[in-house]
């Protein structure tokens, strides 16, 4: 549905040039939700804006629904853009128009008759759950409600594709979840293809089918989300994945932890389970074989796409040579093991 082939974008600031996108190749399949994740300044916005040509690529091809975007003339581009919805971090609603009138704007461009506009806007208000706010002005709405209006407006001319530029980045976690589930819903109900960019792995995890990581204008790694969580190889990818897991060493432990082993101290380890980890009940096996106790402090493990992935923090309690053997055992079974320190028990 969306294809980027060899996209480069070079910004010129006076005599200086800045290479914001480098040889980007991306294929977003129809009816899928594709996420592009990257840190601030990685080129995410630039990337998504080349798709509807808000930003003209310096080289490369943008193909949406079979049309070569860069080869369209001005008028054709306007018509094509109406079939590509877009929502933004800051909503970009017209403050002078009510909710109803904002959603009606794209329909006015098509010169639809009044009754038809009315019916369509009501249908969209219903879809985004804002029937009771039809005549409110955007300034009277919450952030989540504004984004719902923006979604309704973007869907008004029945686009095939929806582009989301950090659509949930200025919303609180709960509102983020509700907007994401709305996006998932319209993806399923209307068969819409969605490309979203974000700096939060949680967004990718909760609704995306596929993901690509962008860094300094390069796509570093991409693949199906289920594959990605278990198998991504780059450090950047691993960091993003780790960021979605909330592991905290309990306060009380922090006071008893030291970086070197001491008398009566036990190792505190972080175990990472990924796609390559041998799929066996490793914790209880290690406990049995080495006659140690494994005291789990915190764990965040999920099961997706046939693999288990996640992290846990555990204290290995036992003879020090046995603990050492258990650590080797985990590593042999492809568990990522990191020793965070040694905890003294007194």
């Amino acid at each position: 549905m969306i294809e980027l082939i060899g996209i480069n974008k070079i910004y010129k600031r006076g005599t200086k040039t800045f290479h914001a996108l480098r040889d980007i190749n991306l294929h977003v399949k129809a009816r899928k939700i594709f996420g592009v994740i990257g840190a601030s300044g990685a080129g995410k916005s630039t990337l998504i804006r080349t798709i509807n040509l808000l930003e003209q690529p310096s080289s490369g091809e943008v193909i949406v629904n079979g049309y070569h975007m860069t080869r369209l003339d001005k008028e054709e581009l306007s018509l094509m853009r109406r079939k590509i919805g877009m929502i933004f971090q800051h909503f970009n609603l017209l403050s002078s128009r009510t909710v109803f009138q904002n959603i009606a704007l794209p329909l006015e461009l098509e010169n639809s008759p009044k009754e038809k506009i009315h019916a369509r806007v009501n249908e969209l208000l219903n879809l985004v759950g804002l029937c009771d706010r039809a005549h409110a002005y955007p300034s009277q709405l919450s952030g989540g409600q504004k984004q719902r209006v923006a979604i309704a407006r973007a869907l008004a001319s029945s686009p095939k594709v929806l582009l989301c530029d950090e659509a949930t980045s200025s919303l609180d976690p709960q509102t983020t979840r509700s907007i994401l589930s709305l996006l998932k819903e319209i993806n399923a109900q209307l068969g819409l293809t969605i490309l979203l960019i974000t700096h939060e792995m949680d967004v990718v995890k909760s609704i995306c089918d596929e993901v690509a990581i962008i860094n300094e204008g390069h796509i570093v790694e991409q693949g199906a989300v289920s594959w990605f969580f278990g198998n991504a190889k780059t450090d950047l990818a691993r960091n993003f994945i780790e960021s979605t897991f909330q592991l905290k060493i309990p306060e009380e432990y922090l006071t008893r932890i030291s970086s070197e082993p001491m008398e009566h101290s036990f190792p505190l380890v972080k175990l990472g389970f990924t796609g390559t980890t041998v799929n066996k009940p490793l914790i209880s096996e290690a406990s049995r074989i080495f006659e140690i106790d494994i005291n789990i402090l915190s764990a965040d493990i999920e099961y997706a796409g046939g693999t288990k992935f996640g992290y846990l923090l555990a204290e290995l309690v036992g003879e020090s040579h046995q603990c050492e053997a258990a650590r080797r055992f985990f590593i042999e079974h492809h568990v990522q093991l990191e020793t965070l320190g040694y905890v003294t028990n007194d």
Binding site: R81, M86, N92, L94, R97, L109
Partner: protein, 216 residues
């Protein structure tokens, strides 16, 4: 007493005519010029640096000429447009021309205040340049545009006092001729009072209008 009232009512009529008619023209042309100034900027809808610089130059020149000089300097143009260079109607021409660059700048400022994202959204929705102007820029900047017009009106009340120079009449002229030249303090105070009330009225009505159309 009666002649004084007659003089004042006639002068008020002349002031109102000069101020409102020239404000109407100045707002219209100022809006067009202000829009042109804004949309020809580099990242705007119709980028055109030569046109932009030309407009900049015209507006800067227009704003730097003292009104009293403009009033006299454009007498030939005034005569060509209205057939005469003397009288209330003739005064409308320099008042309009004097106010256009001022209004254009204010309207440009009102347009610059619009959030950048609006243009992205408009482009993404497939609006043409003309649709962006009529459906986004003007309605979204309307409170600012009204504010610009109010300021233009007040400035024109001020400028119109100088219209006496070319026989335009009006309250300012009465204040100068009776008050300043003949030391008629009562007449002067009265005209000034009326001018103050007029400006107040314009401000109040304007604020009301701005408040009504401002949903930001």
């Amino acid at each position: 007493m009666l002649p004084m009232i007659n003089i004042l009512t006639q002068a008020l009529g002349e002031t109102l005519l000069m101020v409102f008619v020239s404000a109407l023209f100045a707002s219209t042309f100022g809006l067009i010029l202000g829009l042109a100034l804004e949309v020809t900027k580099p990242h705007q809808i119709l980028p055109h640096s030569q046109a932009h610089h030309l407009l900049e130059m015209i507006i800067n020149i227009g704003r730097s000429i003292p009104f009293i000089i403009l009033l006299v300097a454009i007498i030939p143009i005034t005569r060509w447009i209205v057939g005469t260079s003397i009288g209330t109607v003739a005064a409308i021409v320099p008042l309009t021309i004097g106010a256009i660059p001022f209004t254009a700048r204010l309207i440009e400022a009102a347009l610059m205040e619009l959030p950048e994202g609006l243009l992205d959204a408009a482009h993404a929705m497939g609006l043409s340049s003309l649709q962006i102007i009529t459906k986004v820029f003007i309605p979204e900047a309307l409170p600012g545009i009204f504010n610009s017009i109010i300021m233009t009106l007040v400035t024109l009340v001020n400028y119109s006092a100088m219209a006496g120079t070319i026989g335009g009449g009006g309250l300012g002229d009465v204040a100068i001729r009776y008050g300043y030249q003949r030391f008629d303090l009562k007449m002067m105070l009265l005209t000034v009072l009326i001018l103050v009330l007029l400006v107040q009225l314009i401000q109040y009505a304007g604020h009301y209008l701005v408040k009504k159309c401002n949903h930001r």
